[in-house]
């Protein structure tokens, strides 16, 4: 590969993802992206300029050695490449699929300054899949037990990555999860067509083989408080990775009508409870066949919900978002996929009220047009309603996807843990220590709804700090 000059490398066009046809995929739950072939992966890897000072690495929240793993791919050493990634990222098959690359590693890639950046995410995904499909996943070596016990609360990306690192270092690790399945948002929120559950399961099986213990159906704050974990159950430290799972509603008229869901409920019924396979599975979801479905919001959750409604048979699937497309927080790829699949975008539009019939069923929505004013604290231009621009649209199902707040189950029962005004847990950003001795926290419960990679990074940071704390005892 050293024969190629930088100029030649720059000439290779970015290889697009092989995808299921939009018309077909919008009616099934199989994964949309089908992945690179080995040949495509090698060619894509050749687009990397091997920068002496790779800017891409700084763009990745966990600083994956991107240049090095791409070099290994270009040399055809896929297993070597995935090992290189795993030095910094425990869940490459997942991050390669769901990271907002365009704002992170790929945004920082120099090739992107003149054309399209190297497809770092696709390459990451490719080698992780290659390893999994080859059946040659190495179980990381685990140090001999040091006899110390750590409790991890929550099995989302923050908890899983913290568990892995601590187990490698020889700790006895138990993960407590409230639901009957492990994986957090990765299993109950993000749909199968974007992240097959099989992949999450494989990652968790790996942790089990390393000796991490898992307890499902175990709600901390209910079966054990944090204090009881440490005082009665013998845990030397606790990591809280409980996520931000409390759905926000709009607070408008009609939100309690039949047919109105939070995105969490809509997605949980479909993903976790497999309601799309009713009556083979017992949990139902409202039939969306030939129905009009509106989803309020512009993030990944909104895109997941609206695309799920298409797969449940919706005739018209709308996104109602109060700003313009530029401000949408969703990944660019999700917006593109949603458009290709036929989702209709009602931008600069906000719901005023939901309209129902006498029996309490949703029938329609009243909307108002918005325009963008001056930027607000978040730096995004503030949407302002245009008076008198109200109109109504008939809908049968509405999904509210405007975000989630922190769930107070743990903090309510452990008042010593300091929380912010918003209810998130306050930590030292370097060590993820909370205000309570021996207790650490990370992921969405600290940041509010963020990303998988940030949650993972926080889990790893906490693992390092927990190790430090338990080795020298100083708080």
């Amino acid at each position: 590969m050293n024969q190629l000059t930088p100029k030649e490398r720059m000439k290779i066009p970015r290889h697009s993802m092989i995808e299921q046809d939009p018309a077909e995929r919008s009616r099934n739950f199989s994964e949309v992206n089908l992945g690179y072939t080995p040949e495509l992966a090698i060619e894509e890897a050749q687009r990397c300029l091997q920068c002496p000072k790779p800017t891409c690495v700084a763009g990745c929240p966990v600083n994956i050695q991107i240049k090095d793993f791409i070099t290994l791919i270009a040399e055809g050493d896929f297993i070597g490449a995935v090992k290189k990634i795993k030095e910094d990222n425990a869940l490459p098959a997942i991050c390669g699929r769901v990271c907002p690359q365009e704002e992170q590693c790929e945004e920082a890639c120099v090739v992107g300054k003149r054309g399209e950046p190297v497809a770092i995410g696709y390459l990451e995904r490719f080698v992780a899949d290659y390893e999994r499909e080859s059946g040659k996943i190495d179980v990381p070596e685990v140090k001999v037990s040091n006899g110390k016990k750590v409790a991890i609360v929550g099995s989302g990306p923050a908890g899983l990555s913290c568990a892995k690192d601590l187990r490698e270092k020889g700790y006895e690790v138990t993960v407590f999860e409230a639901l009957h399945e492990l994986g957090g948002v990765l299993v109950y929120g993000i749909p199968e067509f974007r992240l097959p559950k099989e992949i999450v399961r494989t990652e968790i099986d790996g942790l089990k083989r390393m000796g991490v213990k898992f307890e499902t159906d175990a709600i901390i704050g209910r079966v054990f408080t944090v204090d009881e974990l440490m005082e009665e159950e013998g845990y030397d430290a606790v990591f809280l990775g409980v996520g931000a799972g409390l759905p926000w509603f709009l607070g408008i008229e009609g939100e309690n009508l039949n047919g109105v869901y939070s995105a969490n409920e809509f997605l949980t019924r479909v993903n976790l409870m497999k309601a799309y396979q009713f009556p083979e599975y017992d949990s139902p979801i409202l039939d969306c066949h030939n129905k009009n479905v509106a989803v309020f919001g512009g993030g990944n959750t909104a895109m997941d919900a609206v695309r799920t409604s298409l797969r449940l048979g919706a005739k018209n699937a709308y996104i109602v978002y109060r700003r313009s497309e530029k401000e949408m927080p969703a990944r660019v790829e999700e917006i593109k996929h949603a458009k290709e699949e036929g989702v209709q975008f009602m931008l600069l539009t906000n719901p005023v009220r939901l309209i129902g019939d006498d029996e309490g069923w949703l029938k329609g929505m009243e909307l108002i047009k918005m325009e963008l004013g001056e930027p607000d604290e978040s730096g995004r231009r503030r949407p302002i309603p245009i008076e008198g621009s109200n109109f109504t649209v008939d809908i049968d199902v509405a999904v509210i996807a405007i975000g989630n707040g922190p769930n107070p189950l743990v903090t309510q029962t452990t008042p010593e843990i300091e929380t912010s005004r918003r209810g998130t847990i306050v930590v030292d950003p370097e060590t993820m220590k909370t205000s309570k001795k021996g207790v650490f926290a990370g992921g969405d419960i600290v940041t509010g709804g963020a990303t998988v990679i940030l949650a993972m990074g926080a889990g790893r940071k906490a693992a390092a700090a927990i190790d430090h704390y338990l080795q020298n005892g100083a708080w």
Partner: protein, 288 residues
């Protein structure tokens, strides 16, 4: 995996289960519930913890077979396994010495009211219990209720046992007799809870109901269990399930509980057909 230690019918279609769940047994308080999933394809359904035994490490649930999941559960026997049992969920009942407390149970609501009646008694209240059933055969927990009550009444809709009439008729009678009532707890079908709220409202008697919206996770994550209290949405699984009866929007709750009616019927039909088929196969096998 949770083992069933004991299982017996209390009345037609109403079954009591004692389940091995030591952690929940240790922690549960009156008014709290568990969420149960019977098998891999199963729905998550909430059931009140009727009793517990910390020494034995068991909890008791009492289940009325109304649809697919509860009927399937009621086929389970001693020694069988329930895949998931999670809890204790919800806020415990608010218990204090109110003075005279009336606990009203309708149907299987009697089982849900039972632990709170016990707690009210322990707190020093003069406890009156009124438990209603459609007919004599459906009366449950009669002895248990008597044991915790200073006065115990049973009402049946058809008059086949106890007082002939509804629980609200009996409650109104007590009020009319001049009994000073300080607190009412009412648990049962939505129309019954609404009727109790309507009876006590003019007298300003503090009245609490335990609401039964459709739930999924039981941890505050889905918002499916939201109920309107004083016009504001609250999550019954974490803020409740008990609420001030005079502030509840019962119509909204009744409407919302019908959301999956069509699907529930379909699921039940499938299930009954499957049961019939199994029965047929069993008889054929026996004949051979």
């Amino acid at each position: 995996m949770f083992k069933i230690i004991e299982a017996r019918f209390l009345a037609e279609n109403i079954k009591l289960f004692e389940i091995e769940a030591p952690r929940i047994a240790k922690k549960r308080k009156a008014g709290q519930f568990v969420i149960v999933r019977i098998h891999e394809h199963g729905e998550r359904i909430p059931l009140t913890i009727a009793d517990s035994d910390v020494e034995k490490g068991t909890i008791t649930i009492i289940v009325q077979g109304v649809g697919k999941t509860t009927r399937e559960l009621n086929l389970k026997k001693k020694g069988d396994i329930i895949l998931d049992v999670v809890g204790p969920l919800g806020q415990p009942s608010h218990i204090e010495n109110f003075g005279t407390a009336v606990s009203i149970g309708g149907g299987v609501g009697t089982a849900i009211a039972y632990p709170t009646a016990v707690a009210l008694k322990q707190a020093g209240n003069y406890v009156i219990t009124i438990n209603g059933a459609r007919n004599k055969d459906l009366v449950i927990l009669e002895e248990e209720m008597k044991a915790v009550s200073d006065e115990a009444y049973i009402t049946t809709d058809d008059g086949s046992y106890g007082y002939h009439g509804f629980v609200t008729d009996k409650l109104q009678e007590l009020i009319d007799q001049g009994k000073k009532i300080d607190f009412v707890l009412a648990i049962g079908p939505i129309p019954m809870m609404k009727a109790v709220a309507d009876v006590t409202r003019p007298y300003g008697i503090k009245t609490v109901v335990s609401l039964n919206p459709i739930m999924v996770d039981g941890t505050g994550m889905c918002g499916g269990c939201r109920v309107l209290i004083d016009g504001k949405a609250q999550f019954a699984c974490v803020d409740g399930p008990e609420f001030d009866a005079h502030k509840v929007d019962f119509k909204n709750l009744a409407d919302r509980n019908k959301m999956y009616h069509k699907y529930e019927q379909e699921a039940l039909k499938h299930f009954e057909e499957k049961c019939k088929l199994t029965e047929k196969i069993n008889t054929l096998e026996q004949a051979e």
